[in-house]
Assembly symmetry: C2
Homo-oligomer: 730 residues x 2
């Protein structure tokens, strides 16, 4: 019943090994060890005397003795109800904040409330201290209560059932339990028993908790759903892929706590969801701090797993925690967002992955993306440096924002993808979505950056003969074209663009942009004459291997004849908008698969067409942009057998090489939440036209509706997915 | 006259050396090289054709040719006036933003405005681009102007004098100049001539510049003064030391630009003072990013320079830049603040070093510092973990805050001292001082942290027999007792506490604290009965070697007899409040130098007395705290010779060992802005009672009032300073 601690003296400075030591002892800097580990345990004394004792062993036998402590963690017991933690695969009791849970204490004799004084002590980390929230005694009597409430629920013979209610701001993590009994000589306590350890999580079901989300369906989706859909492709040709978040899988909760340990995050901050999510946004990427995932957009993934190849978060998190914090290779934005989502849901923070189509990036939070044309209106690739990502995935998490004025709680953007040119910004958020929508970007954290991602203008400049640039067109609607997330409790899309922006062209939108300018966002103000000719590239549905025609549609709004000199540039691009090999056309033409793009496609097969031209009669510049996604073949996933818990079932994954060349070193991955851990298979060669079938057996662990998700990956063909839905009976 | 760039193709991914590469190629991630170096230069073509040329060399001779470009940088020339850059020791032209400067161009024949088209081109960094502000052409004709204005000041024969006015948001750094002439075949430009490079700095004299400070005396102090005073010690016994900021010394400006290069800060952000100061707050310390200074509070400085030993910033900055970014050992808070101040003033940002006495630290931005007493009211050192720094130094810099609502411009706190337990917060600020004063801590950056440093309550808890804690006293006035900075243009102190806080106990103060609580700051709310007995420890003036008495003063506000059981604990502490060896007294007594503290003093000789006790009659707890600074001996610095520019003069530094033991490995340092670069001297032994005299010669480089500053340092005695003022005649 005492705030015990490791009584370390400040250690003397060890002589550093290298001539210029980077890290030095902190003697003189901080009092005692830093408390930022949930894994380290403090020494808690079994007997803590009040004062000098008379010689000889103290006569303890006359006082209350404890025979057993039971945290009631078996499936049918009280604590498994109401806490919404029944899906966690864990040997420990897992509960949520502010909701009572019960423990059973068996004494050596009946408990006498008037005489016996005891407390249930909760201890977290190496240096428990009451004032830091790392040591909490819970008392059974009404008169004497600490920050967590205690009460006797039931007494029967020697057994006392005690109800314990944690505070809404208590630390989220793994606690040890002791029972301390007061004797006249000191406090006597139970020995450490790891089997009674309990995890305390955030509680979105409790109005007292800052993560409270008052919608049962949303909670079911954003906290309890292990399966997700991540959107990619282009805004007018959206692709989707399934993802196994796996937040309840064995070891994932420990991995999430380990991430905060690895980030050296003080335990005393871990009850604060704002700080937890901000730290996680930094720790999910490996820049600076040996975080979870190494970003790689190079196309060369020889020494790791290609970002397109992952099917879920579990393997990544277990690999990271299992290696004690070696960053996992490799990630791109949706991998960061998906693993971040697992982290959020696992700790009980409502979370979802969102996709922003045409996301302005790396432009330092100003509102301009520059595209440079030459004198004739042709795209100048060498001078165009800004990139607009075809799509970008980030996370939203739900919380009250006690650090901001009212009105900015609710969904918050957090983003773990490292932003290369935003100085040192390898973390992003939480930024209030409401603040972004209303242009109130003066509030932390990183709101101007998120605002620019959805609101930047695309500025077309014509480069003059003398080298200066003239603004010829401003497209205010291209960037942030659509923001999507998975629908609640079914597999459809949910368009949440209106949560980020007022309708294009509305008076509210104009006011918001003016507000953002007041806060230092720079916008292009050139007033340009409305062009009387418009050009557009219609959407195309292209599968890999197809030949296709690129057509241009012109609209002449004048009543006169107009002649245009038009260039079309088609470029194979990464999803980041960065060009790879170029495929050049002059004026509309047919695109041939084997001539034009077969060997040039990069992992996410997108061709970015920009058409630019000049109207002869008026000198006006016309432009249009379109991303054409080349659709890859799919995997066929089939399940056979009786879909019941613990019954053996079979799954087969089929694929046919549709190309005229060999596919080499082909990796397949598959997993299914609650039914199959991730599995891998490699084929060294799949010849043209050849089919392969990979069969595995599995035994569903629990009932309910779920999916099996598979991916195929090789250097010549990436982002090939397949999935099947199935419902397991009890 | 063109935005040239290094036309690099995205380089293919090099196979990583290690099996788990941390850094990978960014092909696919970003278009082109990252532009974050002021030192790299882009290739600028001497001839840039407009189109395909006819065979044979183009007949250029008929067009304007340039014989000479002169940037008028000699001392008496026009550009040295008005820009307030005459003190910089540099071979280059240095000007400030928005104020016109002139350059002289000599052509091969008289310039004909109607026919000849030319531009002065300013280029910064490896990939110049007009839309990023890294390529700026300046035109001589009224009709054609870019973001920087140009005009013909004078034409005489072949010579044209051109006036150039930079924009108020232009990038701060070192630019290259080219002159481009338009010919029908293309643009012909001058060769790279490093002698015409110019530095452009922030301009606090210009109302258009966000760093505008409308007070000539303040500008003279906070931009132009190379000499500073840094306050330390205790709030009721303030010590001071001189510091040579040396912002005009040769190489310092380049070192400051190098720091931003090393931070990988995009050039396009370097016109934004908010971003520049935020990046610098991270880069001045070596945590995470190989920044300038390694922090060390251990007392063991074997492998570097003890923090107390530095006398100025120049040596540190030149060492860092000279080693291409190897962190310099060692710093504590005032070293970080002093070097940061050099950085600010050097770039033209008004800056000052401030000292906060009793600064709450490492408490994660909550407003409680916990002190734990035992049942009897005696301090429990093992359970008291929070530390209150005797003093803490940070910086203020002056700027408009366009990113915030009106009212938060002006002085801003930036702090480069790494905060150990604030997760990942190895940068701090800029935080608006006005926002801190008004409790508006919802605005970036890091305002809650600064607010806590000056506003935390000290909470005394009594630890009960059963281990719980009871609040027995709250001291709301101890922390943030006084904030000092050097006075403007003279050597006195300036108390700026009222810029951070409303008067203690005022209604405004109460409102501010309530505001801060709304934004999530936690405060202790226990309402405690006013104790009718007060205790105080009076201030003492103690020199090292003195014996002294600690007395307690009691005030009994009741009309009854009161008896107290009182403990006094005297602890030798680091300035961070962290205890070293303990010197324990029970009840007031005499402190003997050789018995009690001689061998226990740490570098900044402070003894922290806490007295706590219990009134027998009422059970109330009384407490008082006092830091006694043991004053060290001083160095005597004497100057002889005629104080004129370039005349040889002599300086002697004298010291007598006042102790009864040898001082070993004694290091002395000395420097004087404008008159003497830093010098060192080592004595292997100074015997008890022995005096040493170190004599050096020097020749003042420029006229004016200045100082010679010296320090002495050895393991047994630190923080010994001396200085002398002198005025040099022309």
């Amino acid at each position: 019943m005492a705030d015990q601690e490791a009584r370390e003296n400040p250690t003397p400075a060890a002589p550093p090994a290298a001539a210029r030591p980077k890290r030095v002892s902190h003697r003189g800097r901080t009092a005692g060890a830093k408390v930022s580990s949930n894994q380290q345990e403090g020494k808690v004394e079994e007997f803590e005397p009040f004062m000098l004792l008379p010689r000889g062993p103290p006569p303890l036998k006359e006082f209350l003795d404890i025979w057993d402590v039971d945290v009631l963690k078996r499936p049918q017991e009280i604590n498994k109800q109401g806490h919404h933690t029944h899906l966690y695969s864990s040997d420990f009791l897992i509960v949520r904040r502010t909701l009572e849970f019960q423990i059973k204490i068996t004494f050596d004799r009946p408990y006498k409330p008037a005489e016996d004084k005891f407390a249930v002590e909760f201890v977290i980390g190496p240096s428990p201290q009451y004032s830091k929230g790392t040591y909490i005694p819970v008392f059974p009597s009404e008169e004497r209560q600490s920050v967590w409430r205690g009460r006797i629920v039931e007494t029967s013979d020697n057994v006392v059932t005690m109800g314990i209610t944690t505070s809404p701001e208590c630390i989220v993590g793994k606690y040890m339990i002791y029972i301390g009994v007061v004797t006249p000589y000191g406090i006597r306590r139970t020995r450490r028993d790891p089997s009674t350890d309990i995890y305390i999580l955030f509680n979105p079901w409790s109005p007292a908790d800052p993560v409270f989300l008052d919608d049962e369906e949303e909670r079911e989706e954003c906290v309890m759903n292990e399966l997700g859909i991540i959107y990619h492709g282009a805004y007018d040709d959206v692709s989707e892929r399934a993802w196994n978040y796996g937040q309840f899988e064995f070891g994932v909760l420990d991995a999430c706590l380990f991430i905060m340990d690895k980030a050296d995050m003080p335990l005393s901050n871990r009850g604060d969801v704002i700080k937890v999510t901000r730290v996680a946004s930094a720790m999910l990427n490996s820049r600076d701090d040996d975080g979870v995932l190494v970003g790689n957009w190079s196309g060369d993934y020889t020494y790791g797993v290609p970002p397109t190849s992952w099917t879920g978060s579990v393997e990544i998190l277990l690999d990271y925690a299992g290696s004690r914090g070696t960053p996992v290779c490799y990630a791109q934005c949706w991998v960061y967002a998906a693993v971040f989502n697992t982290f959020l849901r696992c700790l009980g923070i409502p979370g979802r992955v969102v996709t922003n189509f045409f996301s302005a990036h790396d432009n330092d939070g100003n509102l301009k993306m520059d595209i440079i044309l030459d004198e004739n209106g042709k795209l100048d690739r060498n001078r165009t440096k800004d990139s607009i990502w075809n799509y970008h995935c980030w996370n939203e998490c739900f919380m009250a924002r006690s650090d901001l004025p009212p009105g900015f709680g609710g969904w918050q953007v957090v983003d773990a993808t490292p932003q290369e040119t935003s100085d040192g910004m390898f973390r992003c958020g939480p930024a209030s979505v409401a603040a972004v929508k209303h242009g109130q970007i003066c509030y932390p954290f990183d709101a101007p950056f998120v605002f620019a991602e959805v609101n930047s203008d695309v500025i077309f400049y014509r480069r003059q003969k003398d080298g200066t640039l003239e603004v010829v067109k401003v497209n205010p609607t291209h960037v942030g074209r659509m923001v999507l997330t998975k629908a609640v409790l079914h597999d459809g899309r949910r368009d949440i663009t209106d949560q980020y922006k007022f309708p294009e062209g509305s008076p509210e939108e104009r006011r918001v942009l003016e507000k953002a300018e007041e806060f230092g966002c720079q916008r292009e103000k050139a007033s340009l004459p409305q062009s009387d000719v418009e050009v557009e590239i219609p959407t195309l549905d292209v599968r890999v291997g197809d030949n296709f025609d690129v057509t241009l549609q012109f609209k002449n709004h004048s009543d006169q004849r107009r002649t245009a000199d038009v260039y079309v540039t088609g470029t194979v691009v990464y999803y980041t908008g960065v060009p790879s090999a170029e495929v050049v056309f002059k004026t509309p033409k047919s695109v041939k698969y084997d001539v034009d793009y077969m060997h040039k496609l990069v992992e996410q097969a997108n061709i970015h067409f920009i058409t630019t031209g000049k109207i002869k009669e008026t000198g006006q510049i016309i432009t249009a942009m379109k991303v054409i996604t080349i659709h890859n073949p799919k995997l066929i996933v089939k399940v056979t057998g009786s879909p019941r818990v613990s019954e053996e079932m079979y799954v087969s994954v089929e694929f046919t090489n549709p190309f005229k060349f060999n596919l080499e070193n082909v990796h397949l991955r598959m997993e299914g939440p609650g039914i199959m851990p991730f599995k891998r298979k490699q084929y060294s060669l799949i010849a043209p036209g050849t089919s392969i079938t990979w069969t595995e057996t599995f035994s569903p662990r629990r009932a309910g509706s779920t999916k099996l998700i598979a991916s195929l990956d090789c250097a010549a063909l990436r982002q090939v997915y397949g999935e099947t839905e199935l419902t397991i009976q009890q």
